[in-house]
């Protein structure tokens, strides 16, 4: 065993035990399992959100995009900032409704607002469909990082099987609290690796960030402004993409539900104020990608830019540290994704759709069981059928963003009803699928998901306007709750 592998294993084991420890001696009811008993303060909410935001995509993808695409990678810094700004305004309203009605999941919200179980089950199934490819992506990222960092001392399959077992263990015992706690280690290690490499690499190769950019501007000036090295990711694409992903960010069922974990609406607002600062380290990842482009040109896959340059410029033990950081960076989002996919199935497909008389304890038991099933599904896809879910992944963000009209209009507009939301989501998803699979993304320079979201909003509003529905089940009370935001 080499030193890098020893460090990775040590950190991963320690994190998992911390995750298990976080939930011992707590009675696991539905509240604790999904929303941490609605008692998370600013720090735990920060950890939870940060845990979901910095995934392996950020770790490998941001520098990879800077390496192979150039300027379009800047969008990664922007969309999170927009998402937190939006969350400042809409999440407190969602929190109030969640508190008032005892909601746990995103489909719960749709059911409470629109009084339609069908809509709840539908939203739950769509949510799970988009979560599983992301879960697989995390496992795959983990496998790549760990094999690369340990210099192939451990195989891809072995690495993800171990991660699978440990992640299942701490989700199973601690629910959402386990993920928040493991996130502490993840954040510290990731920020340290990104800081050291991001500041270090431009100095090692060019003597500073300024020099590095001067060199790149002399060599390939087009790389630094939109559309970078791409043919179709120009300013218009960036604008539509950040608007879409900014709006879609909190529509991921797992991120939506963070609103329910907070102990007060005030916690959510204060968190939204500080979160954009967390986007700044992404700049360092961009610097790594740009430096790598000149220092180690010709990589087949840009996603390896970060790992390859660390491997070249740093000692083996540091490679182990980065590998360990990458591993927990995959495990935390994976744990949250699997937790919510299983809760969606147990609560909103089984309890809502099949057996409404199932008790909440029954739902928790079923969720725990589903954690293992869904993780196993992610694992099987990652090992045996790595390319089957690529199409779903391609449309993941564009897909979940289609929940946006149902959520936002639902908060502030009385007339909207379940059928309008159904019509909107189906229209949005169809447009996404047609454009993405027909290779029309970007469409007329715009992000295809953005086009779909516009179509979705239009259909939702027109349907609600032309066919007046039953309105909201909650009568007068609902708008009052939302307006207090």
């Amino acid at each position: 065993m080499n030193i890098a592998l020893a460090i990775i294993l040590g950190v991963v084991l320690f994190s998992s035990f911390l995750g298990v420890f976080a939930g011992t001696r707590r009675k696991m009811d539905l509240e604790t399992w999904t929303v941490g008993g609605r008692r998370f303060g600013v720090i735990l909410i920060w950890l939870l959100m940060a845990g979901e935001i910095y995934t392996t995509f950020t770790f490998l993808g941001a520098s990879g995009w800077a390496y192979s695409r150039g300027a379009p990678a800047y969008y990664i810094m922007i969309y999170g900032t927009l998402a937190y700004t939006i969350s400042f305004f809409i999440l407190p309203a969602i929190w109030r409704i969640g508190k008032k009605h005892g909601l746990h999941t995103q489909p719960d919200f749709f059911i409470a607002r629109y009084g339609s179980r069908y809509l709840g089950v539908f939203v739950a199934i769509i949510g799970v469909l988009f979560i599983i490819p992301y879960l697989q992506l995390q496992l795959k990222g983990l496998g790549l990082i760990v094999t690369e960092a340990s210099n192939h001392a451990i195989g891809f399959n072995t690495a993800i099987v171990i991660a699978f077992l440990l992640t299942c263990l701490f989700v199973f015992t601690s629910g959402i609290r386990g993920s928040a706690w493991v996130s502490i280690i993840k954040d510290i290690m990731m920020l340290l690796s990104v800081g050291i490499v991001g500041f270090g690499v431009p100095y090692i190769y060019f003597g500073g960030v300024g020099n590095m950019f001067q060199a790149l501007a002399a060599q390939r000036p087009a790389h630094l402004i939109f559309p970078g090295a791409t043919a179709n990711m120009d300013v218009l694409w960036v604008m539509s993409t950040v608007l879409l992903t900014g709006a879609g960010f909190f529509m991921w069922p797992n991120i939506f539900a963070t609103a329910f974990s907070a102990k007060s609406a005030d916690t959510i607002k204060r968190n939204a104020v500080i979160m954009p600062l967390y986007q700044l380290p992404i700049l360092l990842l961009l610097l790594v990608g740009f430096t790598a482009l000149m220092a180690i040109p010709g990589l087949k896959d840009g996603d390896f830019a970060f790992l390859s340059i660390v491997n070249k410029a740093y000692p083996q033990w540091f490679m182990g540290f980065v590998g360990a950081a990458g591993a927990v960076t995959a495990m935390v989002p994976a744990s949250i994704l699997v937790l919510f996919a299983s809760t969606l199935l147990a609560k909103n497909v089984y309890q809502t759709g099949i057996n409404p008389r199932a008790s909440d304890q029954m739902v928790v038991r079923l969720s725990r069981f589903m954690v293992v099933v869904i993780m196993a599904a992610g694992l099987l896809f990652a090992i045996l059928l790595p390319n089957v879910l690529v199409n779903l992944l391609l449309i993941g963000y564009n897909g979940v963003s289609q929940f946006c009209p149902g959520v936002v209009l639902g908060l502030y507009w009385k007339r909207i009803h379940a059928r309008a939301v159904f019509a909107g989501i189906i229209t949005g998803l169809s447009v996404v699928a047609i454009l993405a699979f027909g290779k029309h993304d970007p469409f007329l320079g715009l992000n295809a998901g953005f086009v779909a979201l516009i179509a979705n909003f239009t259909v939702t509003i027109l349907t609600a306007w032309i066919f007046p529905g039953p309105g909201n089940r909650d009568g007068r009370r609902w708008p009052a709750v939302a307006r207090a935001a």
Binding site: A71, M77, V209, A217, I225, V238, M239, A265, L280
Partner: protein
């Protein structure tokens, strides 16, 4: 809409104006600022300033909106 919310929305518009709608006008390399190409500097600057805008929004809501009893700390 309460007065505080109105002002808060004004501050909330800041990142949208600076990080989305002004992008066509800042898509350039020169001048370099703090070693960064101009467009990247612009983005980093406004990402860093957004917390201040949101803090101002937060203060506005606290100052002018009716306190919400459900928000107990």
């Amino acid at each position: 809409m309460q007065k505080g919310t109105k002002y808060a929305l004004g501050f909330g518009a800041v990142p949208f104006v600076t990080l989305v709608f002004s992008l066509p006008f800042v898509n350039r390399i020169e001048p370099f600022v703090l070693g960064l190409p101009f467009v990247l500097f612009w983005i980093v600057l406004w990402v860093a300033l957004t917390p201040l805008a949101l803090l101002a929004a937060y203060r506005c809501e606290k100052k002018w909106n009716a306190p919400d009893e459900e928000d107990g700390q």
